[in-house]
């Protein structure tokens, strides 16, 4: 399936072919889930690579996003004398938009690329073919564990990101700009809703983004032409396609969930 390269040079046909192949690949991935349960260790190992190893960048970025958001909001809201609402606005914007989206973009850059490059190199060095010869299903052993790991890791990383952003906002807002600590938290707790913001905003969105990013990363890895240039291109395509998919999907999900 992946060997079939689009013959037509038309951009529209090419991208449609890509999307179609990607969708078929998703079905193959999902169908391989029962078989990949045998390789649960591999899933855990991938979870370590894409999840635990991404924690540092997620935490640092979350902290800075929260800090800069609070700094900006404070100055805008001070025009209206509404600085006490800034903690709440930071929380809502992080939960509903910034948390899932920025985490997904970082995740695509940090984990998606490495998945694509790894699988691409496996193809280039004939490891995938070797697996098939040894009667090891490469989809169940290579693709599905990485996909599942991304699916599990994204919501957890998003939660960490959001928590760090709130702490960053608290750091700037309360300790630096002098917003009252109790007001900061009470406004936040009064406005943030567990269902619409945490479940729909953070968890649901990040789960969807996790699925899309890891699907694109694994798919691009398997579709890599077995050359060093092909690996480079596939890695770039992962980032570009993931970013576009994340932002487009974000709009659609927001429109449906709001």
């Amino acid at each position: 399936m992946n060997q079939r390269m689009p013959q037509d040079n038309n951009v529209v046909i090419q991208s449609l072919t890509q999307i179609g192949n990607c969708g078929l690949f998703l079905l193959t991935l999902l169908a391989a889930i029962p078989r990949s349960l045998r390789y649960i260790r591999e899933t855990i190992r991938q979870l370590w690579f894409v999840g635990a190893m991404s924690l540092t960048i997620i935490m640092v970025c979350g902290l800075f996003v929260g800090m800069v958001l609070m700094l900006q909001l404070y100055h805008v809201l001070s025009i209206f004398g509404g600085t006490s609402a800034s903690g709440m606005v930071v929380a809502l914007s992080v939960y509903r938009e910034l948390g899932p989206v920025v985490t997904a973009l970082l995740f695509a850059g940090r984990a998606g690329t490495s998945i694509t490059a790894e699988i691409g190199l496996m193809r280039a060095t004939d490891q995938i073919d070797a697996m098939e010869l040894m009667a090891v299903d490469p989809i169940a052993y290579v693709a599905t564990p990485r996909f599942l790991a991304g699916l599990i890791a994204m919501p957890l990383l998003t939660c960490v990101f959001c928590a760090m952003a709130i702490l960053g906002g608290h750091l700037v807002g309360v300790t630096w700009l002098g917003i009252d600590n109790g007001t900061f938290w009470s406004n936040m707790t009064a406005e943030v809703d567990l269902h619409t913001d945490i479940v729909n905003g953070v968890l649901f969105k990040s789960l969807a983004f996790g699925a899309v990013v890891s699907l694109i990363a694994v798919f691009q890895g398997f579709a890599t032409p077995p050359t060093s240039e092909g690996v480079a291109r596939a890695t770039t395509r992962t980032v570009v396609a993931s970013s576009i998919a994340i932002l487009a999907l974000d709009f659609v999900l927001t429109a449906f969930l709001m």
């Binding site: 190992r45 999840g51 007001t183």
Partner: protein, 291 residues
Amino acid sequence: MSQQRSSYAVGTGLFIVFGFAALAYLATQTTSIANVHQGASYTVEAHFANIGQLKDRAPVKIAGVRVGQVQSITLEPGREVADVKLSIDKAYDKIPLDSVATIYTSGLLGDQYIGIQYGNSKKTVADGGTLVLTKPAQQLEEMLGKFFGAGGVADNLGGTYTVWARFTNVGSLSVGAPVKMAGVAIGSVQSIQADPVKLDAKVTLAIDKRYNQIPDDSSAAVFTSGLIGTQFVAIQPGGSPDALKNGDEMILTQSAMQLEDLIGKFLVNGSSSDSKAAGNGKSSDTTPGKH
């Protein structure tokens, strides 16, 4: 190899635990009520006729200095009185027993907090004691209740019937805005059109079929929810025995008020309702909606 595997497993387990800890933090600390850990404090109760927009963990201030926070707000069973527990820093334990607790608003749109003015008593409030003298929140909504309606959004409606009304000015009323009677949403604005002949606005209202007993001499007015809220159509029932039917026109209408007008009226009428609201939180509820 197995050692390497188990180190992955431990690290991954830690990652998962960490992620869930973050989720628990978000879900508990930023959504529900959680007590911020603070220094030694003691608890004082105060009963308010109306707490306005006071929230848990709102600051408690003496002479403008923060001395504690609101610990909990509960409704006293069987009485229309809010039971507010204040958690005050142990360092400020010399509050006279006859001090007055008042709910203030910081700025026009700011948050509400509790201010305590010292009395003259030699006795001080002990842990678990009660501040007897309180002043309820000055409800801006209540004071302006004559001009404004309550906030809220129209429900999903089942069957509706439509009536229409002419307004000389609809302000910033938009399609989909709620139609309210007695502050309860009973329908929504279906369309707003400018009449090319009469040069006014023709507003079509879709009203829930359940409310088919509205007298046909009821009046429709364009109100604003809150000071900067969205606009809605308020229906004030008339006394006619005949009910509005599908396609009827509501003759009596009152156009949207300009904020400048409202503030002008409020400044003129403000002093009387102000003292009423301060004296008895309920009195202004019964004031009829006349201008």
